[in-house]
Amino acid sequence: MREVAVVAFAQTRHSATDEGQSEPELILPSLEEVRRKTGLRKYGFTCSGSCDYLAGAPFSFVSALDALGAWPPISESHVEMDAAWALYEAWVRLQHGDVDSALVYGFGKSSQGDLREIMTLQLDPYYLAPLGLDQVSYAALQASAVKADRARLDEIVRRSRADGRANPHALDLPDPAGEDFEVEPLRPYDIAPVTDGAAAVVLAAGDLARELCENPAWITGIAHRIEPHYLGMRDLARSASAAEAARAAGVGKGHVDVAEIHTQFSHEELILRQALELGEDTLVNPSGGPLAANPVMATGLIRIGEAAQRILDGGAARTVGHAAGGPCLQHNLVTVMEA
């Protein structure tokens, strides 16, 4: 495989409420920041991730292209998935050998609708969606299957929210409190907050990566796997697809300093720690993770960006970025980066 690295990462100061910005307005500052960091204004390939259902109108990515100022015309593609998969498509495109740089971005404004209900539309339209099983309800099924210790979950939320308060991009959320359930066994604070935001990453190959930054975060492994859709066909307490993606990406081949994982519910950290075989000495979600800021469609890309940033900053030697999609962690992508 050709050497490809993350050379720049930028994200918005994510917001818990609609601040009146359109999606293109959300993405502009991050695009400008990675342009400034790399000095690159043209890229061999560009790819984005977004979801029309967040806005309730088709073609979210069309207006984002206007924000990009794609002129003269650019080589560009889009995945209607978390932008982590846009990064994967860009990484694949860089493997051809004819282009050396790629711009990847993702954005989402969850504040415009009811995310819990919108995610119901992701289910099998004939058998599952009509049941009205919403996102928190099916996550609660998974939390029940995990049989997680309440104190352990509270600790995950407390740590994530504290780390989030120390992260200028994440939301300032108080320590977990209250005995009420949202959907038993999930309490309101076990659920990632509604968040608006965007992020951008620049990938570069070989010598260009070395030219553009001092400590490129080299992608030494990247893989993703999907599982059956129906919840009854999976052992919800485990994530076979995350485990298989981690194996294919080579997570276990060395010590992991930092792992940024896509945990939209506190119990998912337990499942993913096990699937990725992360040891107790791996720092998990030091950014606060999705429990402190969850701009849907950019969240997975931010995990890769945050994990890369530890290497770009010179503080870590080997990190993992993880992204998830589909109900109950159906689809998982794992990226291993090394200094």
Binding site: M1, S22, T46, C51, D52, Y53, A55, A57, P58, F59, F61, V62, S63, L65, D66, L68, G69, A70, W71, P72, P73, I74, S75, E76, S77, H78, V79, E80, M81, W85, Y88, E89, V92, R93, L94, Q95, H96, G97, D98, M119, L121, Q122, L123, D124, P125, Y126, A223, H224, R225, I226, E227, P228, H229, A240, E244, G325, G326, P327, Q330, H331
Partner: protein, 383 residues
């Protein structure tokens, strides 16, 4: 350009207004199974699945790849969902080809679909963000002014569009999968249909179809089945929809995309060197417009090629021998169908609508406000 990639299997469904006998999953599986059968392979031989479709609002299923993973044998494998507006079918093939060319996988299944009967596409296309009020209804409402501008610039006579409609619909009579089959179609019939968006009459426009198309793509050392179609060049281009000064009649993105593909395939004179082209023509007038955009004719001259019969099945540069988008339009799949039909031609497997001796074929798709382009060139000879 990375490793060599070949098309080794193609599967299509019969395109029709409503497929009430199958679910969305049943529809895509039907196409995928036919592609596997063509490649003489089974699900276990596939390393990854790439699926494409137009906006999720067309069926009301958000991110349908999650639900469709089971039906496409993707469990335990990587699966991706591409969405680049009307060009998405083409982009889906290109992402699949990229996985081979980048050396990531040996065999990839690409599938694109639309089951338009589950929803109302014109409504879904007319829904705009609240801060950008629009007077446009549907794709025809958007493209009609660009067609009028083409007519004004080129001085094309008004029957040119109707000639394309008649030609493509006659070709469709030879394609077993085509949706619209109108025996006895002629110029008078097209002219007599209602005006929808000046100058687009009812029979100048594409239908709404249910349907899916699938392809198996393979690395050189994994080729199976009958004659492979070799990928000779691939490219995508995008430009902003609202850039002032953008030429929507002859978009720069289309010209650049074609130039990139021709360069990779070693084509210097498309009209002479390309044997057959499957080009995204959802409104009849887009044939002369794209003849110019793709370099088959000089600016303002495309309509003369159409009028001369050069693009007919028996002409020297047959365009849309399959009947094209005008005859079958499951939107998200329409681009992939163009790419697949181009491959069928160079494999010599296009049946009654086969162009004799076709060795090099162009597949083309466009989308959005004529701002997204995806193209590939395929050939019968290994590059």
């Amino acid at each position: 350009m990375g490793n060599r990639c070949a098309v080794i299997g193609i599967g299509q469904t019969h395109y029709t207004t409503k497929r009430r006998d199958v679910s969305i999953a049943g529809l895509v599986r039907e196409a995928a199974l036919r592609a596997l059968e063509d490649a003489e392979l089974t699900w276990k031989d596939i390393d990854a699945v790439v699926i494409g479709k137009a906006p999720d609002l067309f069926e009301g299923v958000m991110m349908p790849e999650a639900y469709l993973a089971d039906a496409l044998g993707a469990a335990g494998k990587p699966m991706m969902r591409v969405h680049t507006a009307g060009s998405v079918g083409g982009s889906t093939a290109l992402v699949g080809a990229s996985l081979i060319q980048g050396g990531v996988h040996g065999r990839v299944l690409v599938v694109a679909f639309e089951k338009q009967s589950e929803s109302n596409a014109t409504w879904a296309l007319s829904t705009h963000l609240p801060f950008s009020a629009s007077l446009v209804v549907g794709a025809g409402g958007y493209f009609a002014p660009h067609i009028r501008e083409y007519i004004r610039r080129s001085g094309a006579p008004e029957h040119i569009g109707h000639l394309v409609a008649v030609k493509d619909r006659r070709n469709a009579l030879k394609n077993p999968y085509a949706h619209l089959k109108i025996p006895g179609i002629d110029l008078r019939m097209v002219e007599s249909t209602p005006m929808l968006w000046e100058p687009i009459r009812y029979l100048d426009t594409c239908p709404s179809s249910d349907g899916a198309c699938a392809m198996v793509l393979s690395a050189e050392d994994k080729v199976t089945g009958a004659a492979p179609a070799w990928v000779l060049g691939t490219a995508m281009r995008s430009e902003p929809i609202f850039r002032a000064g953008r030429d929507t009649v002859n978009p720069q993105g289309g010209k650049d995309c074609a130039a990139d593909v021709y360069r990779q395939a070693g084509i210097t004179d498309p009209r002479r060197e390309i044997d057959v082209a499957e080009v995204y023509v959802p409104f009849s007038w887009y044939e002369p417009m794209w003849l110019e955009n793709l370099g088959f004719a000089a600016e303002g001259e495309g309509w003369k090629l159409t009028e001369s019969g050069a693009t007919a099945l028996e002409g020297d540069i047959p365009w849309n021998a399959s009947g094209g988008v005008l005859s079958s339009n499951p939107i998200g799949a329409s681009g992939l169908i163009r790419f697949a039909e181009a491959a069928l031609q160079v494999r010599g497997m296009a049946g009654e609508h086969q162009v004799d001796g076709a060795r090099r074929a162009l597949g083309h798709a466009y989308g959005g406000g004529a701002q997204f382009f995806a193209m590939w060139m395929v050939g019968s000879d290994r590059p």
